[in-house]
Amino acid sequence: MAAVAMRLPVARKAVAPSGSRGEEKHLVAPGDTITTDTGYMRGHGTYVDEEKLIASVAGAVERVNKLVCVKALKTRYNGEVGDIVVGRITEVQQKRWKVETNSRLDSVLLLSSMNLPGGELRRRSAEDELAMRDYLQEGDLISAEVQSVFSDGAVSLHTRSLKYGKLGQGVLVQVSPSLVKRQKTHFHDLPCGASVILGNNGFIWIYPTTEQKDEEAGGFTTNLEPVPLSDREVISRLRNCIVALATQKMMLFDTSILYCYEASLSHQIKDILKPEVMEEIVLETRQRLLDLEG
């Protein structure tokens, strides 16, 4: 039975800020003066012009002792060493792959930074170079860690651990990088039945939990068996919940995603993306997170 839902647009209401925060957030737009006090050190998103500290991005001002920086809400990913990212291969070049990670420049994955199947440690030969396309092709998704950042801001990745590598079947959700909370680990096996990789660059990968933990191939052979329907439902529900949280500009971490999932269980999967259901679920999630803190 076909279901076609049409509606009239409703003007977005401003969500009241949560009461737990003590001070008001100081919001700035590019060109706004943050402070005329010269005693502060300038951080990301600011610049000095005529003894005034001016914001270069639109966002909230954060002050840590003497350091002033502006954290933008919607931004491209700025790489930091040690971040986990999920990227898509865009080009296969001579000794490296170009990876798209939602940053200003394409990231680079050198052949020498990739672990060979079987966990071998050896010098990369000419045959390895010619066989690059057998490992990773254009369009493949990988999970990797940031090894270093070049002076122009481009990021160099490595997959030198068995938990990184090519990703198999699953769903990718793209959100703004500022919504992904920095945590100890970004690989989560959620109790609802699926696993999630929260890339710091805003790419979130949802995939069915693998039963066995043997990684003899180092993540190169993809499991091409059909995923069972029960797992699919969990993955679709998680995907819609993450989209709902991102639309309402909530921080994404394992607890918030799990609470949102539990709040959405009373609705059908395809109804989660309706605006009123989205608001209701996110409100409930916000409430539970506040109760957890306080």
Partner: protein, 291 residues
């Protein structure tokens, strides 16, 4: 069309999901995404509509101008379509990049509306062989999120429903020359009857089944699609196959049946929304682009 690159494993996941009637966002094979329709968004047109279908955003403006009827149809007005793929949607459309897609969509719209009885063209005639109303329908693609044809046809129908053509009187002079007088009252206008205007339903073949309202990712997995123009009574007026894959005649028949069913549901939902908007009248809060 803006294409998104997917890995083989992702495509396989999508294809298997469609097989089991559970798409990535939880919809069934015959479900549409949530659509938002608003009319009368552009003030200097005779009629306009904006449709948001998921990530696809379309703006349609209709301008009614006086012109001379075509030679082979002297007592009818006509419609002219123009589709502009804005660079807003994707950087590929910058400059002349969007021209090819724009002309393809415009040609499809011409074909769909060329069928007899879709729009009452005789009501657009003022003076046979001399004056008639020409409706210039301009489509602007603001965001490309898959399923362009459906969203455009919904927007065109909504804009035609919203079009108000001023009433004109033809005055006969003593010498015999005719003069056209526009009525002074801005609210004195004629509306078009859009009951028989068809809507396009795109059915994309993914694996062994077909889906309605494919997203960009699903379009990347489908090799062939069928475009069907369906009226509100369920009559099929036009059919077109796009894509480089092939379709089995059996599956074409199945897709046609699905298209008719889905098309009827689409028309009912759209008419309900348009009537609801109409009934709100001047109390309606216009959302527009900054809502």
């Amino acid at each position: 069309m803006a294409a998104v690159c997917l890995s083989e494993a992702e495509k396989l996941y999508i294809v298997h999901g469609v097989q089991e009637d559970l798409r990535v966002d939880g919809r069934g094979c015959e479900d549409y995404r949530c659509a938002e329709v608003e009319t009368d968004v552009v003030s200097n047109t005779s009629g306009s509509a904006r449709v948001k279908l998921g990530h696809t955003d379309i703006l349609v403006g209709v301008k009614a101008e006086m012109g001379t009827p075509k030679l082979e149809k002297p007592d009818e007005g006509y419609l002219e379509f123009f589709v502009d793929c804005s660079a807003n949607a994707t950087p590929e459309f910058e400059g002349r990049g969007g021209e090819e897609l724009g002309t393809e969509i415009a040609n499809t719209l011409y074909r769909v509306f060329s069928s007899e009885g879709s729009v009452d063209l005789k009501s657009l005639c003022i003076n046979p062989r001399e004056h008639c109303w020409v409706l210039y329908v301009d489509v602007l693609l603001l965001e490309c999120g898959g399923n362009l044809f459906d969203a455009i046809s919904i927007a065109v129908k909504a804009a035609l429903f919203n079009t108000r053509i001023p009433k004109v009187r033809v005055l006969e002079d003593e010498e015999g020359s005719k003069e056209i007088e526009l009525s002074d009252d801005p609210y004195d206008c004629i509306r078009l009857n859009v009951d028989d205007v068809p809507c396009i339903v795109t059915l994309s073949k993914i694996g062994y089944r077909h889906v309605v309202d494919a997203t960009l990712q699903e379009e990347a997995c489908s090799l062939a699609s069928l475009l069907i123009a369906v009226t509100s009574k369920g009559a099929l007026t036009c059919m077109k196959k796009i894509g480089k894959g092939s379709l089995d005649p059996e599956s074409i028949f199945e897709m046609m049946e699905t298209g008719k069913r889905v098309g009827k549901a689409l028309h009912i939902a759209l008419q309900k929304i348009l009537d609801e908007e109409e009934s709100l009248g001047t109390t309606r809060q216009k959302v527009g682009f900054l809502g």
